[in-house]
Subunit: 398 residues, 2 copies
């Protein structure tokens, strides 16, 4: 079915259960959809922009209030909307990282953190993960010491993923922040997989910056995100322009340099705002989300040879599975080869898995109902059994 | 009427004729609206992202083709979508401007150009405008010479607004680019008010970069825009990441540093794509747009004391009017003070003018039908007459 003459309609979410690792938290709410329709036009939110002419001061629609709510939501003092989490990273590296400065991130860091550091001319240095794929505070402290010795100065900034994109694991954020602060290193929490799906309190964690992704975890259109910080750091990362026209003498008011002036207008912002009351409420149901995720995880673990590579028990709905000794063995003898699994899932209305992947893959059950989680769990078991893999409850195997 | 419990419905465009200077070119087409609805979810366009995993390589929906079409549309070799024109500026300053480098822009440059330069640590230097508010090539050449002497090196980059936001005037772009190239200075064309509304051919103009705004002039949701360049410059501004995990050895493929990896996903991109066939066609009707704009301009000039501050005859639909000696005189004696004008327009269903502004203001007739333009023109004349201003055809006054 056509959406426009050149574009197919997208009905993937309406027609299927989608367990794609990056799409789960960014599906729009019905309210977001309404707002996107009403505020689709380019500069739609600027109807009532008055002096001092900045997006986060607009009161109609209630953008100013939303900014306050957003800061409070992540337990910080000030927040700005940004075109994606990566642009939040870029604002922070742009502020703190000079050419040649070492910057710490982790062995599980997302590529956008590397790019943000590279963009500012910094030198990314990884904190190693342990055997369980967790970033520990002692590893962070050691790396701070080592990097400080090598570069003759402490790292300019430290990135820590609240929950990483590879395993969906939780890391020792609070302890890492404490270690970093002993060296006066500002700490940026990458909450792309947590802000908007589970409770996040930046001050409680002791970080300087919380970055979230609207399109990944806040039920908002892309590109959208949030950069929040403390009162102490706000004057640095949200500093206003000092530029001046050398001939005209023009100055540019309170536009913020790292924000490039006004930030998200129109559909992206309004989608984020319309979803926000739902997002604020849904983080309190995180336990239900985890319970649903565990149903699928348990089903996969019941398939002989299947190993969950993420930490157990699961504390996030994004999970990495290693089926080299189970589904991938089937792939070796199946006429559809590796495609048998995605194809069997698709037949059952389950999508979001990479076609052909049977060795190691990730899935995300965020937003599934209990019934849908049970359906996905049963589907994996069924497919295993149909293909001659033996199935037994994981506790009987341990 | 409510859109969601906390957000009022926006029906400004449906219920009124909107002559706001920045909103006219960014109203969505019906196809864009459909695409925004179908692709509203965060990472909606990523369903079929395959190796080498970059947004502009996705074929379903036809994002790859769109990128080719977009480059051709502005007469350049390569194009990327960006979250707003300002992020295109930032990518270019990030590539070419080192701390302390002089960068040329003009006395009519938009503030986002200043901020992009400041963001990279550059020193903005203005090319003066002449008495008619036009940026001339001889002024550019002089300023290049002068700045080169002062800084001991030529400017790192030169910004020229195709049509500026203050007067909607056309400048000597081709001649300025030629002058800059004699000093090997790359030239960025700010096409925020032209790409998507009038024909733009970057190679014909001889510029190195063309930047356009999706939400300002391409009937797309915000934030969106385009950065296009020549084959020669593409390797510089679109350079791929060299980052490497020092412990894990991870590398990050062909993600582009200044793009921060993948760019516009979801609603913004798909809105832009869905509007594109219409946008490509509408630039050919620019003459009709100019004709409609002139109807309103002539009407305003027919009001005694009203002066058009933009160049005449108008070559753009954005126009600056000085009514200090006409409508503003009325404001001095009217019981609504300066609000009489916006209020009288609103009563007639005409919006997009700053409430209370009677001295100098801007309007944009882009996208009005002939009948709407005539209606707006008649409204101004009527309001003038109702308030005791005399009206005569401008040619009888000259």
């Amino acid at each position: 079915m056509k959406c426009t003459p050149g574009i197919e309609l997208r009905d993937l979410e309406e027609m299927n259960i989608n367990i794609d690792p990056i799409q789960a938290g960014g599906r729009l709410t019905a309210d977001a959809m309404k707002a996107v329709i009403a505020y689709g036009d380019g500069y739609s939110v600027c109807d009532n922009c008055r002096k001092p002419f900045r997006l986060d001061y607009i009161e109609k629609p209630p953008i100013a209030t939303f900014h306050d709510d957003l800061a409070a939501f992540v337990g910080m003092d000030e927040a700005r909307v940004v075109p994606g989490a990566r642009r939040g990273f870029q604002a922070v590296t742009g502020t703190y990282v000079q050419k040649g400065d070492p910057v710490l991130l982790t062995a599980l860091s997302h590529y956008t953190e590397f790019v943000a550091i590279e963009n500012a001319g910094g030198v990314p240095q990884e904190i190693p993960k342990d055997d369980l794929n967790i970033i520990r505070a002692d590893a962070a402290a050691e790396r701070i010491e080592e990097v400080s010795r090598t570069f003759g100065r402490p790292p300019a900034l430290l990135f820590i993923d609240h929950v990483d994109y590879q395993f969906g694991n939780c890391h020792e954020v609070r302890e890492i922040a404490r270690a970093a602060h002993r060296y006066d290193i500002p700490v940026l929490l990458n909450g792309a997989y947590t802000v908007g799906t589970m409770p996040v309190d930046g001050k409680d964690l002791g970080v300087d910056f919380v970055v979230g992704s609207g399109h990944k975890s806040m039920a908002a259109p892309a590109p959208s995100g949030v950069l929040a910080t403390t009162a102490e750091r706000a004057g640095e990362v949200f500093r206003t322009t000092q530029a001046r026209g050398d001939l005209t003498g023009r100055t540019f008011g309170i536009k913020e340099v790292e924000m490039m002036g006004c930030t998200l207008m129109g559909a992206t912002l309004m989608g984020m705002m319309a979803s926000f009351p739902h997002v604020r409420e849904r983080v309190n149901r995180w336990d239900e989300e985890l319970a649903n995720g565990r149903i699928v995880v348990d089903a996969l673990r019941s398939v002989e040879g299947t190993v969950v590579r993420s930490e157990m028990p699961r504390r996030h709905t994004l999970t990495r599975v290693d089926a080299t000794a189970s589904f991938d063995r089937v792939a070796g003898r199946h006429k559809k080869r590796g495609f048998f699994l995605s194809s069997a899932l698709k037949k059952r209305g389950i999508v979001g898995v990479i076609p052909g992947a049977t060795k190691v893959w990730k899935f995300n059950t965020y937003g599934l109902s209990r019934a849908q989680a049970e359906y996905v769990a049963a589907a994996y078991v069924e497919i295993a059994e149909e293909n001659g893999l033996s199935v037994a409850p994981p506790d009987e195997r341990a």
